[in-house]
Amino acid sequence: MKKTLITATLAATTLAGAQLAAAARDYITIVGSSTVFPFATVVAERFGRGTTFKTPNVESTGSGGGLKLFCNGVGVQHPDITNSSRRIKASEVEMCHENGVTHIVEVLIGYDGIVLANSVKSRPMQLTRKDIFLALAKEIPNPDGTETLVANPYKTWKDVNPALPSTRIEVLGPPPTSGTRDAFAELALEGGCKAFDWVAGLKKKDKNKYKSVCHTVREDGPYIDAGENDNLIVQKLNANPNALGVFGFSFLDQNSDKVQGSLIDNREPTFESIADGSYPVSRPLYFYVKKAHVGVIPGIKEYLAEFTSERAWGEEGYLTEKGMIPLPDQERAKVGGNVKMLKNLAM
């Protein structure tokens, strides 16, 4: 009994091993940003259903984690495509090159808006990017007008701007590892930080200092790390009408009965205002393709064609239904053309 068990185990293990060694991957592996994940998965599913190819695997690893896996090398054990909610950095391109990933195709797919929202039980907020910066930055320019920095003294929104309500500043947002947080700091905080001329002037003189002033979020309580799960933030906002939350537009779109977007620089976060660029806090979404895998892993070209087809990323495509904001027509045509030719990434 025991003997047969052991033999069976050994046989099973060897068999599985042999099977593995023989198997060349016949499905696409996609990693990367959790923001692009909902869009990439829709395309993957449609692609799997509509063609004879297998459905691609999509993993949500975060933009940075995805690029790291992607740049690890060429071969079936490395992913073919990585999604990113920011552009690839020069240092990452270098890392890719060192590992033999020399040919990368960049695809800009659309935009995503970042919203500051509160519960529908309270009134919508009317903020400017300067208000957001003054409320959430770690250090702010001295309120007495001198060109010095002081630790953020503000406790309520009224302190920041007399036109705002006198509720305590309480903002629930993603943790530092999140791409959403990076984009929020870059677009909302830096946007408000530039409103101070002398700080904007720092950009030329001392770039690191400028970045640390404009991108560092305060740690003394008003900004609360609420984890990566945006649904959780929506639930918490519902329980606490005085708090604001930071998350992607698609969550606002799906939970319009619970939360409302704050106006930023007098613009309401709507599909239209993000698409035409008038809503100031929106970011581009990308994915990157390993050219060496095209033709080796079946279906990559066809997947690209599906993603860049009008019915997917077009103005009325199914990706917009999921909350992605499409590119303008002209840009879409240009990116689509580049993808068809598998044009190399140019930084």
């Binding site: 025991k2 068990l5 052991i6 185990t9 099973a12 293990t13 599985a16 099977q19 593995l20 198997a23 991957r25 499905y27 592996t29 990693v31 959790s34 994940f37 909902p38 990439a40 998965t41 829709v42 993957a44 599913e45 799997g48 259903r49 297998k54 459905t55 695997n57 999509v58 993993e59 949500s60 071969g75 079936v76 054990q77 992913p79 990566e228 799960n229 945006d230 649904n231 992607g248 698609s250 969550f251 779109d253 799906q254 939970n255 319009s256 009965d257 009325e316 199914y318 239904e321 999921k322 909350g323």
Partner: protein
């Protein structure tokens, strides 16, 4: 002397009431802890079941579908490819337009088409292909899968007419209300939830893929960890000399049992994926990683049950001339088996609920195709729950809770089995 005893008994009597009270309090604290635990459990279950029960029903819409050969693009019903690529969405759209003939503008039409799920065309294909010659050119009343927004609306609709409108526009609400008034909307048991894999459309998403993935992963884990764990336990209990090396091993095993599981995931990533170049996201790697995690549990429980076999049995076997191996295989192992099985089942239940180590080896992924073996990419039940809880679509909220219910059911079955086995096979000495 006499006076002394008198005094002792007085002392006892005087304190007796106090001691009884203390006893009562002590019992009460225990009871309180249990009630607190039970209360939490009840809260958890009511929350999950309250949110999740509606996921077991799915909304369907009845439409008079006219199988127009021109719209479908079929001129020869024996041609398989024609039947596959036919425009089934087209006939559904036409049926919707016929039902609501006042819809004219492109925008309204798009909203109208959105009432029916994207997957309805595939369902229609399946039913049509069973009898193409009968149905081609005919009109049939068919129940089609409704979109998730419609599903949420219908489910949240109360008797007084209030409902969660969500993303449904006023036009869409009007159409849905008209369909309800015609009794053309029905809630049925959601079989899709149990028969299909993951999907980004909540109405098409199911847990079959995750259940199969969990099954393959657990199979690999059991096949590897049980024999290895038992063999290690037998050696440590029966053969190993007691010296500082075995002490060191023992400390390490106990230590490993307490190591956070994500560390096993990192190990798996470094060894199996980066060094052995195995593919990501497959149950085989997942199973091996979970084996590493459950091994300490199995070794510890196996050792305990081997230790519980009385030495007299070993001595009797050796005394009548059995070799040490015969003594172990014929006497110790069969007697220790119930305890070892219980340990293995508890270890498996632990592995079933694990997500952290799988994150590292790529099993936290969107996988639609249902895995057919341990080397097909797959995900597992708790990961599926995690992925759905993170999805923006409203209809995934109830599906998340429903998936938790399924996972809990599996865990309850496994743990009951462990208790039952112990009760059934246990021997008292």
């Amino acid at each position: 002397m006499n006076k002394n005893t008198q005094r002792t008994i007085d002392l006892v009597n005087r304190n007796l009431a106090k001691r009884y009270r203390a006893e009562k309090r002590f019992r009460f604290y225990g009871l309180l802890s249990i009630s607190f635990g039970l209360l939490c459990l009840v809260l958890l279950f009511t929350d999950i079941i309250g949110k999740g029960h509606s996921a077991f029903l799915q909304t369907y819409v009845a439409l008079d579908v006219h199988f127009d050969a021109d719209v479908l693009g079929i001129d020869n019903i024996d041609d398989e490819t024609q039947l596959t690529v036919a425009n089934y969405d087209g006939v559904i759209r036409k049926a919707l337009l016929e039902r609501f003939s006042d819809v004219r503008s492109r925008r309204d039409k798009r909203q109208l088409y959105a009432l029916v799920s994207n997957g309805a065309g595939f369902d229609l294909q399946d039913v049509f292909r069973e009898r193409p010659e009968q149905w081609l050119g005919k009109t049939e009343t068919l129940w089609l899968l409704a979109d998730d927004d419609v599903d949420t609306y219908v489910k949240s609709r109360t008797a007084s007419g209030e409902a969660f409108t969500g993303r449904l526009s006023e036009n869409q609400q009007r159409w849905v209300e008209a369909l309800i008034a015609d009794e053309r909307i029905e809630k049925r048991f959601n079989t899709i939830f149990f028969t299909s894999g993951d999907s980004r459309e909540p109405e098409l998403a199911g847990i079959r893929g995750a259940i199969m993935g969990s099954l393959f992963t657990l199979m690999v884990t059991l096949v590897l960890s049980f024999p290895i764990g038992v063999a290690a336990a037998v050696y440590l209990e029966e053969y190993a000399p007691k010296n500082k090396w075995t002490d060191l091993i023992e400390v390490n095993i106990n230590n490993l049992a307490a190591v956070p599981s994500i560390i096993f995931g990192l190990l798996g990533l470094a060894i199996f994926i980066n060094f052995f170049e195995m593919p990501r996201s497959i149950p085989l790697v997942g199973g091996i990683v979970l084996t590493l995690m459950t091994l300490p549990t199995i070794i510890i429980s196996s050792r305990a049950s081997i230790k519980a076999v009385p030495p007299s049995i070993r001595e009797a076997a050796l005394g009548i001339g059995a070799s040490k191996m015969q003594m172990i295989l014929h006497h110790v192992l069969p007697l220790a088996m119930p305890g070892m099985l219980t340990g293995a089942i508890i270890g498996m239940a632990q592995a079933l609920g694990e997500t952290a180590p799988l994150l590292m080896i790529g099993m936290v992924a969107f996988i639609v195709d249902i895995p057919g073996g341990a080397t097909d990419p797959a995900t597992v039940l708790p990961v599926q729950i995690f992925l759905w809880s993170d999805s923006p679509e409203r209809a995934f909220v109830e599906r998340t809770s429903a998936a938790i219910m399924v996972l809990l059911a599996f865990l309850i079955v496994m743990n009951t089995l462990a208790v039952w086995l112990r009760k059934r096979l246990e021997r008292r000495w």
